[in-house]
């Protein structure tokens, strides 16, 4: 798959502090790439480097195979950028604002109206097009922010925490809009909301304290952490014999037990990659334990995030 963005060993010092430490990752064309990290991890700085708001000091950045240190005059047409706080002028109406944005993105005069109509339509802004931006709700302001990022039909759209601070309904709407963008654009999306990322992204890069900790497709990352073969066993009553079996069996490295609402739960970790479930089911029945559930433990993106940032700490 061809690359839309390639970041190679980029470091950056800001106010005498090393905020990006040799980061490298790629964004494939036609995908939604999630840029995940806690607050202050360096997400916004990286995005500002990609859009040339800031200049990187070391390393190499390529946007659509073009070196960012030698951009051509059409560079700005290829990228659309939405900051965490949408850059809006509250005293302008939505149409006036988009018209201004179209002009400074050097869209040909004859095509400006067509581009504005496209944005109003895609982002469902037609009903508020003549309202002053200051009178719009936060959700609508966010949409106007996305509209300015796509008004010049860039190949790459970079969105910095687009769902931050929105109510649940707006979050769902913005999420659907982002999924819609995938048809026409490559999207790089930053967030610290892991659940959001898992719903919209094809690929994920995890960044913490200016370092890239993991980067790859969502499936491959989830596969990586689900590789441990941990098993959950739930029993309806306490069975000391079963616990004795768990503590003595050679294939089991360790187990954790907990009690919740009359349910006894065991999380069992094997010594090596073996399928424990048939063996556990058989033993529970043989030892007379009332088995309620037996399953492999599934890890979420949250677990992955905690796991990789924890390792780094």
């Amino acid at each position: 798959m061809s690359k839309a963005i390639e970041v190679d060993c980029v470091s950056m010092t800001y106010s005498r502090e090393l905020v990006l430490k040799n980061i490298s990752f790629c964004v494939n064309k036609g995908t939604i790439h999630g840029f995940l990290g806690p607050n202050g991890a360096g997400k916004t700085t990286t995005m500002k480097l990609l859009t040339k708001v800031l200049h990187h000091q070391t390393g190499k950045i390529k946007i659509l195979n073009q070196d960012l240190s030698r951009p051509d005059q059409f560079f700005y047409k290829k990228i659309g950028f939405l900051l965490e706080d949408p850059p809006l002028y509250p005293d302008l109406t939505v149409t006036e604002y988009l018209h201004f944005m179209a002009k400074i993105k050097r869209i040909e005069k004859g095509k400006i109206q067509k581009h504005i109509s496209y944005c109003l339509d895609v982002l469902d802004l037609i009903n508020v097009k003549d309202r002053l931006i200051e009178n719009l709700s936060k959700g609508y302001k966010q949409r106007v922010g996305i509209a300015q990022a796509i008004i010049h039909m860039p190949e790459i759209v970079i969105l910095d925490e687009p769902t931050n601070g929105l109510d649940p309904q707006s979050v769902i709407e913005i999420r659907n809009l982002i999924l819609n963008l995938k048809k026409e654009h490559t999207v790089l999306l930053s967030s610290h909301m892991l659940h959001e990322m898992s719903l919209v992204c094809d690929d994920i890069t995890i960044i913490s304290e200016g370092r890239v900790l993991e980067s790859g497709s969502l499936e491959s990352l989830q596969e990586k952490i689900n590789n441990t073969q941990e098993v959950i066993v739930e029993l309806a009553d306490h069975n000391p014999q079963f616990e004795q079996y768990l503590s003595k069996h050679q294939t089991i490295r360790h187990y954790e037990s907990m009690q919740q609402d009359e349910i006894f739960r065991y999380i069992i970790t094997p010594n090596e990659r073996v399928e424990l479930r048939p063996q556990m089911a058989k033993m529970a029945i043989e030892l007379g334990a009332s088995l309620l559930r037996i399953d492999r433990k599934e890890y979420s993106l949250e677990d992955l995030f905690v796991s990789v940032t924890g390792q780094h700490d």
Binding site: V53, H55, G80, P87, L88, K103, I104, R106
Partner: protein
């Protein structure tokens, strides 16, 4: 591109109540000063014997002082006009719009600077009514009213450039206004510094740097190439400093 930025700025300015508050306040104070000067002149001239009244010149006593007072007011009004021009863009993060678009720093600065000049012309236009009142009086020479206004516009342009520079240094509007006031006051006080020093050469240099020295010539209808060169060099230098500042891409 410059035109797009200019029109956007003007649209935002004229939609804001601040524009009309500043214009109203400015017009009110100028009107009050003009009325007082006129009353003072009429009062004084009546005390002078008729034969000597020709020596008490209306132009010197009213019109030139009128321009001087407007110039003084601009010292306070200009920082209010320019305080938002860059500071607000930094604070709201809208400055990144220009950095991620095909807008050069020169286009951005010129678009914004021209908008401030138009705002200044709007403010000065509210004072045109006072010379209009004087059209009934048979003034021997009206050219200095015309050159006086050119001087005011040029002075305002220099103050505006300093105001824009101050605004480009900080994201806080009040701080920006305060810095602009101090910078404008500084070039105002150059004449005073020039008088304080005993070194002839140094005194001449300070005197040349002082904006009011050049403004005086305009108000007296004496236009010299050196004055125009001074204004043009001053504005160019300040705009280049703003360009340098924006190139740093870091805001306080």
């Amino acid at each position: 591109m410059i035109r797009a930025i200019l029109f956007k700025e003007l649209r935002v300015f004229f939609r804001s109540p601040l524009a009309y508050i500043i214009a109203g306040l400015f017009s009110l104070i100028v009107g009050w000063i003009f009325f007082n000067q006129l009353s003072y002149f009429v009062e004084n001239i009546q005390k002078i014997p008729v034969a000597m009244r020709n020596q008490y010149d209306f132009s010197n006593e009213v019109v030139i002082k009128f321009f001087g007072n407007i110039n003084f007011l601009l010292l306070f009004i200009t920082p209010l006009v320019t305080m938002k021009i860059f500071s607000e863009e930094f604070k709201e993060g809208t400055i990144d719009i220009y950095y991620t678009s095909a807008v050069s720093d020169y286009e951005l600065i010129l678009g914004k600077f021209l908008s401030v000049i138009v705002q200044g012309l709007f403010l000065l236009a509210t004072t045109f009514i006072f010379p209009f009142f004087l059209s009934n009086i048979q003034l021997s020479d009206v050219s200095f009213i015309f050159t006086g206004y050119i001087g005011l516009v040029l002075n305002f342009t220099c103050y505006a450039a300093l105001g824009c520079l101050a605004s480009s240094l900080t994201r806080h509007q009040i701080l920006s206004a305060l810095m602009a006031f101090i910078l404008i006051l500084f070039i105002w006080m150059m004449t005073m510094f020039a008088q304080m020093t005993s070194n002839y050469l140094f005194s001449e240099i300070l005197s040349f740097i002082s904006i009011n020295k050049h403004f005086e010539n305009f108000v007296k209808a004496n236009i010299f190439i050196s004055d125009i060169t001074y204004y043009m060099s001053f504005i160019t230098l300040i705009l280049l400093l703003i360009k340098k500042r924006l190139g740093m891409r870091q805001w306080i």
